[in-house]
Amino acid sequence: MSLLASETQGSLPFPILTALILVPAIGSVLTLMSSNRRPEITKLIALLTSVFTGALGLWMLASFKTGEAGYQFTSKHQWISTWNIGWHVGVDGISLFLVVLTGILFPLVIIGCDPHHDEKRYLAWLLLLEAGVMGSFLSLDLFLFFLFFEIVLVPMYFLIGGWGYDQRIYAATKFFLYTMVGSAFMLVGIVTTALLAKNDLGHVSFDLVEIAEGANFATSTGRWLFFAFAIAFAVKVPLFPLHTWLPDAHTQAPTGGSVILAGVLLKLGTYGLLRFGVYLFPEAALWSREIFLTLAVIGIIWGAVAATMQKDLKRLVAYSSVAHLGFIVLGTFAFTSEAMGGGVMQMINHGVSTGALFLLVGMIYERRHTRLISELKGLQKVAPIFAAAFMVVMLSSIGVPGLNGFVGEFLILIGSFNTARWWAVVAATGVILAALYLLWAYQRVFHGEPDEANSTFRELRLREGLVLLPFIGIIIFCGVYPKPMLDRIEPSVKAILERVEEKTGYVAPHPMVLESHEGGEG
């Protein structure tokens, strides 16, 4: 608890987190206001803004104090004083890499994926989206979080609806409404949480830190509130059976939109479950863990089986996301420090590898104007470098040792084996299924003799290669040397676990002790 209480003010001379949110927002307005006659300047503004934001993110990463669990670089200002709502932002080990990933992904998307029309509006929406995502990860105020969580919908809606494929409007509307239904419950939950906090704090408070430290909710109240939050996040993750918006949204979104959607937007759900579910309502989270574990495992298997059946390469990747996010939820609700830490790490890994997969699928579509697996054949012969890049990314997605996907999945499985044994066992088959559908897809697309249509498939170009390079770099670095990342994630995860233990009397198994049989399946 003491760890959570200590809020360390970073050593940076200016509010870097506020800048991380405001820079892309300002960039978005500037992009929109730039002249129609000079599209290259518009693009330059957008690119510079996103690169600058990414650099700020990396700077924050460099000055982040490793080994501290509390929030760093916090800044807090009154905003709507009548309702006690403040601008309170901070970053800890859980949000740190998500913020950095957001900072890295956006410039890559801006360089790597060109929209086919209306570039100015596309870029403006993209930057607004970045501001919203950053805000969601950094907010330490429930109102502020909801605001960003919800505002993210608007740019994403227009990105899918305006620049997507044939069914784009249907997909965009479905995405918007699904998420909004979840948010409806969360808003009532947030308001109620803030009002009930008055009983313990003496005043209405939307401040996450204040509520977590000072407020105690009655058991049943806590459970209701937890579910109000959890519905919103379960839609966002998406958790089975609320996942049906995802394949549509992913498939219909433009490549850039898919990369962002898979890379960071889905993480709003898993991040939210951890930060606003487990952390804020530990008792309820522990009480309901079997529901979430079961849904997560169903998601893993369902996503994998569905992915195997897909004829469309992009839809296949989309369903693989359902499976991968199941792993993250499994890790979160296993309540061991390895599994939770692995879950946080897997959020980043999935963002990197699935983001890269969507980029590659987008490149295939650019060349062949089809995503149907049956139309593609023998690409390895004509584009070996492209095939190699696809291979590395795909293996990372499968979770092959030495690449980043392995670290996260391994930690999740090993951690949950103690406390959620049978769920872990079933989930492990998901890893095998992942190998099945991805390798099979690779075989069908890349192996064999290219037919006429595929024999002119263009090799990876320099710009495309440069965009993929950071992804592959992260994939290999995190796979070989995950320690720096885990060192920063772990203290915050442990602090959450300690909080759960303190509030509920639950005892997490000691790390890496595999023989405890009493961990129990429930």
Binding site: G161, I169, M180, F185
Partner: protein
């Protein structure tokens, strides 16, 4: 010798100065109109805006005056001059200014130029202001009729459109019916309490104990009163006139009905429930609960299946009225602490939103005011990006998206509901607002995302006249400003809590 002297009440001239300004302005308008030939262009509109602004300035003075001297009841207990009344007066005068501006070019386009529309606007505003400040049921009724009769005529004021005539007639017949209910309610309440004074009724009801069963007349009176006002604010099941009237009336008039009409009727309802009937909350609260739930659900669901934008917005206004009812429902639990500011905030925000929205609609409907089909919006994003962007802001705000005023409005109401543990109503309302979001998305899709423009290329190009541009830009600015920096408006609504009783 038996001549009786009449005791004239003392009159607080400052407090009723806004009413006098508007009234004399209206008279001058009519006299000049009768004596001179029709003035071309927007001179009448400019005159009305000047009047409205003058009224707002005086209202600000009165607000300041109340800050120092406290609120008071004037003219023989007829009018309450308090922050609540001033908040509403400023809102109504603001709406008058905005709608007059948006009407100016509309009338020119439709070849209807003439002064009487503005006189009727002002007349309706006076009625609305009297309603919001009235401390006597009879005064309230006078205000209601002044407002309503002006609106009946306004609804029918497009002389060449049969739809407009139909709209006016429908509104008149159903409105007259509702007024009768309302008046009968007053009579019954007078019968059981012996007074028509609103604060007087409150005093009587707080001291007098009805023996079991004896309060039937009072309850019937309350019920009829609620029916009359529910008709005016258009909540389900008293909403049937709304779609037809909103669709048929000239579009600027529709925006005036949706803003000023709702403002006045809701303010009256608020004053009646907080001042006259707080002790009978157990009796009227369940009724309001049902009205609120029905309105948010039915309004949202029926809005989605419409194809005419004006009809959609009419149903969406029913759903918004349901949201405001939630604020009133929470007054029934714990008094005016949470519900009153939340409802006032919602009213102010919604009025600006609805004026902005309908102003865009009136530009898009083009000459003849007939093109309010959703197809008329197709390609607006390409043709008039700035207009489409403003409309997007209004629609997102109506859907309750953060960083717009609509979110603040919804948040306030939901907070009021949650504070009184009305969780069911809060969740139903939020889910209904998701359904309603589909409707706003449909308009946005039409504006931005549908690219087939072939077929109706012969459509008239949309002109954005300067005056309407000011209204749209101003409303959009207000919408975003309150979304980002709502503190001042919330504080103003909070100040309205000190009612003069």
């Amino acid at each position: 010798m038996g001549a009786q002297t009449i005791n004239y009440p003392a009159i607080d001239w400052l407090a009723i100065a806004p009413l006098i300004i508007l009234l004399s302005g209206m008279m001058i308008n009519l006299v000049i109109a009768a004596l001179t030939r029709v003035w071309p262009r927007a001179w009448y509109a400019i005159g009305t805006v000047v009047l409205a602004v003058a009224a707002i300035i005086v209202e600000m003075f009165i607000w300041h005056d109340i800050n120092q001297d406290g609120s008071r009841i004037i003219i023989n207990n007829a009018l309450s001059i308090d922050h609540f009344a001033m908040f509403c007066w400023i809102g109504i005068a603001g709406a008058l200014a905005l709608v007059s501006l948006s009407t100016a070019e509309y009338l020119r386009r439709e070849d209807l130029e003439g002064p009487e529309v503005y006189a009727l606007y002002i007349c309706a505003a006076i009625g609305a202001m009297i309603m919001t400040a009235s401390n006597d049921m009879i005064v309230l009724f006078l205000g209601l009729e002044t407002l309503s009769i002006a609106l009946y005529v306004l609804a029918a004021s497009h002389r060449r459109r049969p739809d407009s005539q139909e709209s006016g007639l429908k509104y008149f017949i159903l409105g007259g019916f509702a007024s009768a209910f309302f008046l009968y309610g007053i009579a019954l309440i007078y019968g059981s309490t012996g007074t028509t004074n609103i604060s007087g009724i409150g005093n009587v009801l707080s001291t007098e104990v009805f023996v079991n069963g004896d309060d039937a007349m009072l309850l019937a009176g309350i019920a009829l009163l609620i029916v009359g006002l529910a008709f005016k604010v258009a909540v389900v099941p008293f909403h049937f006139w709304t779609p037809d009237v909103y669709q048929g009336a000239p579009t600027p008039v529709t925006s005036y009905m949706a803003s000023v009409g709702k403002f006045a009727a809701f303010a009256a309802l608020l004053r009646v429930v907080t001042t006259a009937l707080p002790t009978r909350a157990e009796d009227w609260r369940p009724v309001i609960w049902v009205l609120a739930i029905l309105s948010v659900v039915v309004g949202s669901v029926l809005a989605v299946v419409q194809t005419d934008v004006k009809r959609m917005l009419a149903y969406s206004s029913i759903s918004h009225a349901g949201f405001m009812m939630i604020g009133i429902e929470s007054i029934g639990h714990s008094g005016d602490v949470e519900g009153l500011p939340a409802t006032l905030l919602y009213l102010m925000i919604y009025s600006v939103l609805v004026i902005g929205t309908f102003t865009v609609v009136s530009l898009v409907t083009r000459t003849g005011d007939d093109g309010s089909d959703i197809g008329s919006f197709r390609g607006l994003g390409k043709e008039r990006p700035a207009l489409a962007l403003a409309m997007t802001v209004f629609l997102l705000a109506q859907a309750g998206m953060p960083l717009t005023s609509g979110f603040i409005a919804k948040f306030g109401v939901i907070q009021a509901a949650a504070a009184n543990e009305s969780y069911a109503i809060a969740i139903v309302a939020m889910v209904a607002s998701v359904i309603a979001a589909l409707l706003y998305l449909r308009i946005m899709i039409s504006m931005w995302l549908s690219d087939e423009e072939s077929g109706d290329d012969k459509r008239e190009a949309i002109k954005v006249p300067f005056s309407a541009g000011i209204v749209v830009a101003g409303s959009a600015f207000f919408t975003l400003l309150v979304g980002v920096w709502p503190g001042w408006l919330i504080d103003a609504a909070q100040a309205a809590l000190q009612l003069a009783k």
